[in-house]
Subunit: 347 residues, 2 copies
């Protein structure tokens, strides 16, 4: 970091400013600015003079100065209100990030990751969003108690939710898969193959996706006239799947079908069932949810409900960018993506 200690010319200190570019190009600061930003109303002569000066000086606009006046930051936040550990091990998150970056890559927009452990730092996240550090926010995975959707709606910050928020769903845009339909179909698959005693491992009761899937299971069970009493809750992690499966099999040893709300939990359940000597799918058929890479690698490979997470994230991001750009500002759009059953060996 060799500080410039040469006899510095009056105005040039660190990196070159627009002023210097203008001076070198022999135009005014205003013209230089125009030339740099798309070149509307700039003569070819001025344009090339500025281009040259920019290249020569290695000029890069100061983003702070720019956004001070434009009120744009050219960055959006991905807000993840989850305890860090859980998030990163979940392929859902990876897929989401992949989808988002793919879209942002097309434009010169940066991604700011906002990890908000629920509760404690919600205020901090909100503060960050409040002072317009970013132009918009994509909020993935949300819990019942953080009234994030409402708070952000109050902020007036362009925002899209990944998955239906608990409250405020009528005020914000969101992209979701039809979780209820997905789990209903998964359950119907088990019913069709002859399962008569079907249990479920649901997700955390404070997440809409989990509740919706549970509702789907209930619907299918009710329609088939089967008892919907074998329910355990996990938290979408592998370990919680093990625990839930153990509890479930203890209470209902006669289960011949198991509907699990995530592949990771199903993975844990499969292990427990294998330990117990249950053959899959002959003794007990299992379906998961997600199909984000885990399902194809379990033993046996998992029949599951595919969530096109990448695609959801992409569409959500595009939606967000539209709103940031002011196209069709604020009315709450909903994008519900139909789920797909992927059949493998486990059911």
């Amino acid at each position: 970091m060799a500080r410039v200690n040469s006899p510095r010319s009056p105005l040039s200190s660190g990196s070159p400013t627009l002023d210097e570019v203008a001076r070198v190009a022999g135009v005014s600061r205003a013209t230089a600015s125009r030339a740099i930003n798309g070149g509307q109303r700039v003569s070819a002569r001025a344009q090339s003079a500025v281009d040259l000066a920019v290249a020569q000086l290695g000029y890069v606009p100061n983003p702070a100065a720019r956004s001070l006046v434009t009120r744009r930051t050219d960055s959006i936040a991905v807000v993840v209100p989850e305890p860090d550990d859980r998030v990163f091990s979940d392929p859902f998150f990876a897929g989401t990030l992949r989808g988002v970056t793919r879209v942002l890559g097309e434009r010169d927009i940066q991604l700011v990751l906002l990890l908000a452990r629920p509760g404690a730092s919600t205020a901090r996240t909100l503060r960050y969003l409040t002072n317009r550090h970013v132009d918009g926010a994509y909020v993935v995975s949300h819990h019942r108690d953080d009234r994030l959707a409402e708070h952000i709606a109050d902020l007036g910050l362009p925002c899209v939710f990944g998955g239906r928020p608990w409250t405020g769903g009528d005020r914000v845009a969101y992209v979701d898969v039809d979780n209820t339909a997905g789990e209903r179909e998964a359950t119907e698959l088990l019913i069709a193959r002859g399962c008569a005693r079907i249990g479920t491992i649901a997700g955390p009761a404070d997440m809409t996706a989990a509740e919706d899937r549970l509702a789907g299971w209930r619907q299918a069970m009710a329609a088939a006239g089967l008892p919907a009493d074998a329910v355990e809750h996990g938290d979408f992690t592998e370990l919680s799947g093990e625990v839930a499966a153990r509890a479930l099999m203890e209470r209902h040893p006669d289960l011949d079908g198991l509907v699990v709300a995530s592949d990771l939990m199903a993975l844990g359940a499969l292990r427990v069932l294998a330990e117990m000597g249950r053959r899959i799918p002959d003794d007990i058929a299992v379906v998961g949810y997600d199909d984000l890479g885990v399902a194809e690698r379990t033993t046996p490979p998992l029949t599951t409900v595919r969530q096109p997470v990448d695609e959801m994230a992409e569409r959500a991001t595009r939606l967000l960018l539209e709103r940031v750009d002011g196209v069709d500002g604020s009315h709450p759009v909903r994008l519900i993506i139909p789920p797909t059953i992927v059949r493998r060996a486990s059911a």
Copy 2:
């Protein structure tokens, strides 16, 4: 967070500015600023007046304006020069992000994720870093051709590398595990258990971590007087592990030991070996590298070399923050963490 809709005074348009806070508090803008930033040289009376005004107006400082003058952005970048897809499925990355966020959570610093597909967008990444969008950068995983280390060193931007960079390693700080020692020890373990014909699946030849591990394997082989000819390269993914294992076993069917440069690749190799009917570790012993969750779940569980990724990321981040804060600015620190062998069933 109800919008203030009272008859707003002349100057208040969008969100409140420092000016308004000062006016409401009955002090000058300068005093208000001081009160808000730690309150040096501010009387208790003024301080509380400002605090009150801030609360009353719901004032949040404009970060752009602030960083325009302070030349600080209170955010750091995590630069990942990898094709997106590979990164997100790798637990190495998850661990890194976890470590970083843990440290950043202690202070009010944000994380900006810079995904730079190598080649194409390196220039863009560099541009982003050049104009001081962030106060510092943590660069993880780098390839031979992107002379990122040198470029960033030229920039004079505070920076820490995760893993030894190919070039410029003498000019930047980095945190690394002793890959050579790790793989050497892993190989020695196989030798000690009696393996006489040991192959290796190395990582991509353009990554230092991969090359260092390969060197470790070579060292151990040479020391034991064993031939170091059974080498295949993968790209750290599961699939590439399968391919490499297949090629390796075809060329050298007599292998009784396999040293794999990542657990993910080892996972693929295990599958291939199982398909071929090889018993592990009796027919062929296998060691992996990473121990980031995958190794405990393979069949059989994988003996591997642990990289404490979280810890590395944490320490790297702290190191980075120190440099950002100007403590001990620029001389190239190196933090080499010793590896640990974790013994499980595969060797």
